[in-house]
């Protein structure tokens, strides 16, 4: 059994359906065992369900209601018919009662066995889903590690040191960039970002506007950060700016670090 999710938004992200791999499996294996988290997930589902209200209004045609009520009426009638044909058998005197005395315990035992098997099956399905998710996550990490190794070993990979701009938070970031592979990796550290701000990393292309390469939430050590450049794009420089939390489509804030590709 895994522990409580560390961040409260994890429940909303799960309800939204964006989590995958290990993150998704962690919630799925924990929530059935924890009433507190099950309640938090129910609240998150409720918040996310409110997004339904943002859909443009489309009134259903009256025919749907008519079809539904016909379907409901037909099912109610057939259930009534089943009940009436069952009645004589239930009132079937001595033999009926004797059969009932045998069949009822058998039925109860079967029901218990079915519930047990169903529960066990659900548990095994969850475990299988968790293992599959683990495997997918490991495969993804292995692919990233392979790409990173290829990039670092390639002879035509260049190293770009990003210089801190005057008056800006301190940092030491380096980008290893391979134009032929269209990939770059950034690592180093940067001072924590001011309140309500995030660092945003940019690829400055030879032609056209800068392209976002990711948002660095709070600063601190930056672990190798892989970037895949849009096809055909050659980088002229890499830069980091301060932007509103979550990042912007184009740079709007001050330049914190910049380094030209030599």
């Amino acid at each position: 059994m895994s522990g409580h999710p560390t961040r409260p938004e994890d429940f909303d992200l799960y309800a939204l359906g964006v989590l995958e791999g290990e993150e998704k499996a962690a919630i799925e294996s924990h929530v059935p065992t924890c009433a507190e988290c099950a309640n938090k997930l129910a609240e998150a589902r409720g918040r996310i369900a409110l997004l339904a209200f943002s859909a443009p209004r489309v009134e259903p045609p009256a025919a749907v209601r008519e079809r539904l009520m016909r379907q409901v009426h037909a099912s109610a009638e057939s259930a009534g018919a089943r009940r009436s044909t069952d009645e004589p058998q239930r009132a079937g005197g001595f033999f009926g009662r004797r059969w009932a005395a045998i069949l009822v315990p058998v039925g109860v035992a079967l029901a218990i066995a079915t519930i047990f098997l169903w529960t066990e099956n659900a548990r095994l399905s969850r475990e299988l889903a968790r293992q599959r998710a683990n495997l997918e996550e490991q495969k993804k990490q292995l692919d990233e590690a392979r790409h990173l190794a290829d990039l670092l070993e390639a002879k035509d990979t260049v190293s770009v040191a990003l210089a801190v701009q005057p008056g800006m938070p301190k940092g030491d970031l380096r980008v290893r960039y391979n134009a032929k592979m269209g990939m770059a990796v950034c690592d180093g550290w940067v001072e924590p970002a001011p309140a309500n701000k995030s660092y945003q990393l940019w690829v400055v292309p030879m032609e056209g506007k800068p392209v976002s390469a990711g948002v660095i939430d709070h600063g601190g050590p930056i672990h190798p950060w892989m970037m895949k450049l849009p096809q055909g794009m050659a980088a002229k420089a890499f830069a980091v700016t301060l932007e509103p939390v979550g990042g912007m489509p184009q740079p709007t804030g001050p330049m914190v670090l910049v380094g030209p590709v030599s």
Binding site: A42, R65, S212, P230
Partner: protein, 177 residues
């Protein structure tokens, strides 16, 4: 006097067809809008709309109004079915009933409350940046995961994750305020 959702559910359990019709009149428009937005297919949307209410008719006894909100539950079921239709996957009914206790932070049992909530949801979405809003819409209406959104938009996975997390934080703040 207008009956509450809980009272209508109780009547459905007793096989009162008019109670189902009343709940349909209350929430069909919300679900129809959601389904059409996801599927962009009128016929498929109508099929799922009918199916969701028929499921309510058959399984009303298993729905406990004290543990959750009916419109929230209906919206979750409708969205799951529509996304599954898009992805050609069939969730089992049992899976849906067990896993979808939904607590909505508002009472949606009358049209005025729904109208007020619509304003709040729109306001909360307008507070997001256009990229955050687009990412939330890809997730909610198209059922895409983090990596599928990154692959569709061409943005790095880390950016997509940060963008959606901060959007969700913002929505949570604004919807609860």
């Amino acid at each position: 006097m207008r009956a509450s959702d809980a009272a209508l559910i109780q009547k459905i359990v007793q096989r009162d067809e008019s109670a189902l019709a009343a709940l349909y009149d209350r929430y069909a428009s919300l679900l129809s809008s959601l389904l059409n937005r996801i599927l962009r297919d009128t016929q498929a949307s109508e099929e799922i709309l009918q199916d969701v209410f028929y499921q309510l008719w058959r399984n009303a006894a298993q729905f406990d109004p004290a543990r959750g909100s009916l419109p929230g539950w209906l919206a979750v079921i409708a969205r799951n079915r529509a996304i599954s239709r898009l992805r050609r996957h069939n969730p089992s009914e049992g899976e849906e009933l067990l896993e979808t206790t939904v607590i909505v932070p508002a009472n949606l049992e009358n049209a005025l409350a729904q109208q007020q909530l619509l304003g709040r949801v729109k306001g909360a979405l307008e507070n997001l940046s256009s990229e955050q809003r687009a990412a939330i819409e890809l997730a909610y209406f198209e059922g895409l995961t983090h990596s599928e959104i990154a692959s569709k938009t061409g943005d790095p996975l880390g950016t997509v994750k940060t963008r959606i997390r901060s959007a969700v934080e913002s929505l949570k703040r604004n919807l609860l305020s």
